[in-house]
């Protein structure tokens, strides 16, 4: 008998297979979880464990991070003013403390948004399975890890067993060929593919991002791209590790060092999709077709290049789509056919797990340098370490001189849980990930775009093509 030739496999297959403990009669895999992050919102899962009197199986593989509710206007050491928010943060302290879980808490100099801190600390590595009770966990896939968001029941399951039952998803490859034009970013790649395929276009699939344009992206940009996978319906998105990945990973505090790093790096470099591996779906986009893009509606799929006009439901053929567009325009307070560059904004927000890493702040600061913002706005760095780095580079002075507020790190105005909200009816140009109704506050109107585009909008007070500024 001869050994059958090894089937070519994808990056996703390689990582999945290395984590499969067993498969049940229904084809479900029991997967080992290498890393688990919890935040203030994870309290439901800890409550479930307590109800059943179950211990945390592997506390050393779970890390707590305070981000969703943390105030951004408070000085270190000061008490948190709002008792309900204080309670959420104290609850996380208690739950992690009681279970022996390491915590990056409110006043930790390494605190920040979970999806920024994980990579920064070296907890995020190629070849791992990483989960967190947050849909933007897809971010970590930028390193060639399988990373996905889970609900509270699954969080409890991971805490109790360090495993999860999952059915292998379908696989889609999204190839971006050629080079991105100046002023075009990972955010624009994401908004473009989501507009084309729909907010549920990649539902049931994992995405591998490939092609020249992806390989040319920095780690920060890959994190932005993978972060937005869920906005197109994919629970996770991956980029194969390469030299850019290895360079980022070297000397991270909680990652491998010395000979152990070299050994890990050899394995990480093997995590690429084999030639001839099969995908359920292949989508190709030419980089040259991608322009700076903004959303006009209440779903990330409602996005257009900045030089276009708001759609007119009256000329749409599909009745249901027309009704939906009409509903979006009503909520957003826009006129059919209005030029996007004529849309006047009330404020800006630069922050979130999508676009608040150091490179994002540099891009926004480059536009704002020597200019004044016409509207108010907040800048909330992705982590306290990003904040410190930005301050070392003098970026905070540019934001302050432009008239924007320089805040502490947290999820802040992306989700409004900490009280940083957009007022009802106000229009915000935002570097975040969701333009859902009420996401930034009840009645808030959100336009998603890249950091440089938000900075450009701040300068003119309108949605603006940063390339023309």
């Amino acid at each position: 008998m001869t050994t059958p030739a090894r089937q070519p496999s994808t990056l996703f297959d390689k990582v999945w297979n290395a984590h499969e403990i067993l498969r049940d009669d229904n084809g479900r895999s029991l997967l080992w979880i290498d890393r688990h992050f919890v935040h203030e919102g994870s309290f439901h899962a800890f409550d479930k464990l307590r109800e059943r009197d179950l211990p945390v199986a592997r506390p050393e593989l779970t890390f707590g991070i305070a981000d969703h509710y943390v105030p951004t206007l408070r000085r270190s050491g000061e008490p948190v003013g709002d008792p309900a928010i204080r309670g959420m943060i104290e609850q996380l302290n208690d739950n992690t403390d009681r279970n022996g879980i390491a915590l990056f808490g409110l006043d930790d100099p390494r605190q920040g948004i979970v999806h920024v801190v994980g990579p920064e600390q070296g907890l995020t590595q190629p070849g791992l399975i990483i989960v967190c009770g947050d849909s933007h966990t897809a971010t970590h896939g930028a390193f060639g890890a399988i990373a996905f968001g889970i609900g509270a029941s699954e969080v409890a399951h991971v805490l109790a067993t360090q495993t999860l039952w999952q059915t292998r998803p379908k696989q889609m490859r999204l190839t971006v060929t050629g080079n991105l034009a100046p002023g075009v970013t990972a955010k624009d790649i994401a908004l473009t593919w989501i507009a084309r395929l729909g907010a549920d276009g990649a539902r049931g699939h994992t995405i591998e991002y490939a092609g020249d344009a992806i390989e040319a992206l920095s780690m920060e940009a890959r994190l932005t791209l993978c972060n937005l996978s869920i906005e197109g319906g994919a629970r996770c998105g991956l980029v194969a590790p390469d030299e850019t990945t290895l360079a980022y990973l070297r000397d991270r505090p909680l990652g491998p060092h010395g000979p152990q790093f070299e050994r890990a790096a050899r394995y990480w470099s093997s995590l690429a999709t084999d030639d001839g591996a099969r995908f359920d779906r292949d989508v190709v986009i030419e980089a040259a077709e991608i322009a700076p893009t903004v959303t006009w509606g209440v779903s990330p799929e409602e996005a257009l290049p900045i030089d276009q006009q708001v759609p007119d439901p009256a000329v749409m053929e599909d009745g249901e789509k027309a009704r939906q567009a009409h509903d979006s325009l009503t909520y957003m307070g826009l006129m059919p056919g209005q030029k996007l560059t004529d849309v006047v904004i009330d404020r800006v927000f630069i922050g979130s797990c999508t676009n608040a890493r150091i490179e994002d702040l540099r891009a926004a600061a480059a536009v704002l340098e020597g200019r004044r913002a016409r509207v108010p706005g907040l800048v909330s760095p992705g982590s306290s370490l990003v904040k410190r780095q930005a301050e070392a580079e003098g970026l905070h002075e540019i934001f302050l001189a432009a008239g924007l507020e320089w805040r502490a790190s947290g999820c802040s105005m992306c989700v409004g849980m900490n009280g940083d909200q957009v007022a009802s009816g106000e229009r915000c140009a935002s570097t975040t990930n969701r333009n859902f109704k009420g996401r930034q506050g009840p009645g808030a109107r959100t336009h998603l775009m890249s950091p440089a585009m938000v900075a450009a909008a701040a300068v003119t007070g309108r949605l603006t093509d940063v390339r023309r500024l």
Partner: protein
């Protein structure tokens, strides 16, 4: 978890697409413990106006919505945030089934973990269901064993992942099931650390010492 096999009860029509979990339960209510009952927060900002008055024309405020067990809605229901609170809101309101042409992946998994059936129907059948429901709660029979919906004289098939179907019918809970494999998990964990020694993370120095 309570097993779900077959039931007949009113279904509410909600013909909107992309009802994301931020709309199903707005973030500002998520500080509440589950014991507060999340049904009161379900679709809050569609259900109540800015002054907190119930909108009379919204389906959940219909007098017969109280006994409803199914919600019939459009594509991409439950997209976005992984908040399981969205499922708590539906379940605490009384729903056991959501019928739609597609669901957010994380939402579906959360639903099944709470005994809520995400039933996927064809777009054409959905329109017929809306015709039947019109704009009020109407009786709908949900049969999970046969994967069929009965609306008046008509029957419609629905799809659900077979693993989830078994789980819902039996009311199984994953943690209990997984604990039976404890020895295999422990063996796997030891081997993983042996083969990939770097995957065990460093532990951060507590911040007061950092």
């Amino acid at each position: 978890m309570q097993p779900l096999t077959r039931f007949a009860a009113p279904a509410c029509p909600l013909p909107l697409a992309n009802l994301d979990t931020d709309q199903i339960v707005p973030a500002r209510f998520m500080k509440q413990p589950r014991s507060a009952g999340y049904g009161q927060f379900l679709l809050h900002d569609l259900r109540y106006d800015a002054e907190g008055r119930a909108r009379a024309d919204f389906i959940l405020n219909h007098p017969e919505a109280e006994g409803a067990r199914s919600l019939v809605t459009r594509r991409n229901f439950g997209a976005g945030s992984s908040r399981e609170a969205a499922v708590y809101a539906l379940v605490d309101f009384g729903f056991r089934c959501v019928v739609a042409p597609s669901f957010g992946d994380i939402f579906s998994a959360n639903a099944v973990n709470n005994g809520l059936l995400p039933a996927t129907v064809e777009e054409a059948d959905l329109e017929l269901l809306f015709d039947y429901l019109c704009d009020r709660p109407m009786p709908l029979e949900v049969d999970l064993e046969r994967c069929r919906l009965r609306a008046g004289e008509r029957e419609f098939p629905f799809a659900v992942n077979p693993v989830w179907r078994t789980k819902l019918i039996n009311g199984w809970d994953d943690i209990g099931m997984t604990q039976r494999y404890r020895a295999a998990i422990d063996r796997f964990a030891a081997k993983r650390l042996r083969d990939f020694p770097w995957v065990g993370p460093g532990q951060p120095v507590p911040s007061n010492e950092a």
